[in-house]
Subunit: 155 residues, 2 copies
DNA sequence: CTTGACCTTACCATTGTGGGAAGGTCTATA
DNA sequence: TATAGACCTTCCCACAATGGTAAGGTCAAG
């Protein structure tokens, strides 16, 4: 079957199938005389595996590991479990980070009148002078509370 | 002060300051005779504003809006609040998606022996044939359902 | 045989950030 | 004063994962 059919059958776009091939995540597809990529059911099976892993937030690199383990019928389940649990920890970390940002901002928004007047704790917080000047009365949950800043080197 | 000092004072890297200038988020800095960018305390203040907004997960585009509102002393606080709450919703959505992926995977890992034997429910789930049966109730965020995939983000 | 749907490769863009090279400048110290 | 080293400048490259588009070839149905 051609790439369009394989894409429809697997849920991975044709674009991404070519991309995965180009980076070596999947082997090069065989070609028809005309140069069209040709996929077997087995290939589609692998693509579905990839789609599911991707839906679970695995990176291409991790998917590569998982594919290798999948193909190795004798690997220990502990190897798979380790990768999975590492990924769970990573997902949790990211989710918590977003959650904390959300809560900080929701808190600020909760103190904002949200009317036609210009005074706004959200803006005040963002523009706050760390030094001397600019003393306001608003309740200010200082940023250090989020635990995000120390490691604000987001990749 | 030069860009290095401004970076240290604001928490925004010199690299990013130049980038923000290049995309028009901040105005072009004045220059010394030698061509060095020169920053005032006001400039640093703006950079700190930007850093804090970044820490709260705002995109450059949203920061641009916030900066405009910040500079407009007569804007209604409702305008700021609206942007903030939209962002809160976005953060919540992303956090929830990550959380769901995490839970699905943790659930699978919980059923994996994690020993030297090869049988592994995690791999089984990923490689399962959809044609056969599909009676799990795991959260699979099908594309289009979450609105996150179009830009599977995580910069 | 034409038409339209599909394939091919090869670029470009996205988002926000870092790395590095090649070359100019500033400053402190020998 | 000369020189080293820390800084600055611009410019280009890279990342992850995905979509878009253009130019051209192919296939199948009418």
């Amino acid at each position: 079957m051609n790439i369009g059919k394989a894409a429809a059958a697997s849920g991975v776009s044709a674009k991404m199938i070519r991309y995965y091939e180009s980076i070596g995540l999947i082997p090069e597809a065989s070609r028809t005389d005309a140069g069209y990529r040709d996929y077997s059911d087995k290939d589609v099976h692998r693509l579905r595996f990839i789609r599911r892993a991707r839906d679970l937030g695995f990176s291409v690199e991790k998917m590569s590991e998982l594919l290798a383990l999948w193909q190795d019928r004798d690997r220990a389940s502990s190897d798979v479990k380790r990768i999975a649990l590492e990924h769970v920890a990573e997902l949790q970390r990211k989710a918590r980070e977003l959650q904390e940002m959300s809560e900080t901002l929701a808190h600020l928004a909760g103190h904002c009148h949200g009317d036609s007047r210009p005074d706004c704790p959200i803006i005040n917080e963002l523009s706050e002078e760390t030094g001397a000047e600019d003393k306001r009365e608003v309740a200010r949950p200082h940023f250090g509370a989020t635990g995000l800043e120390p490691g604000r080197n987001r990749r």
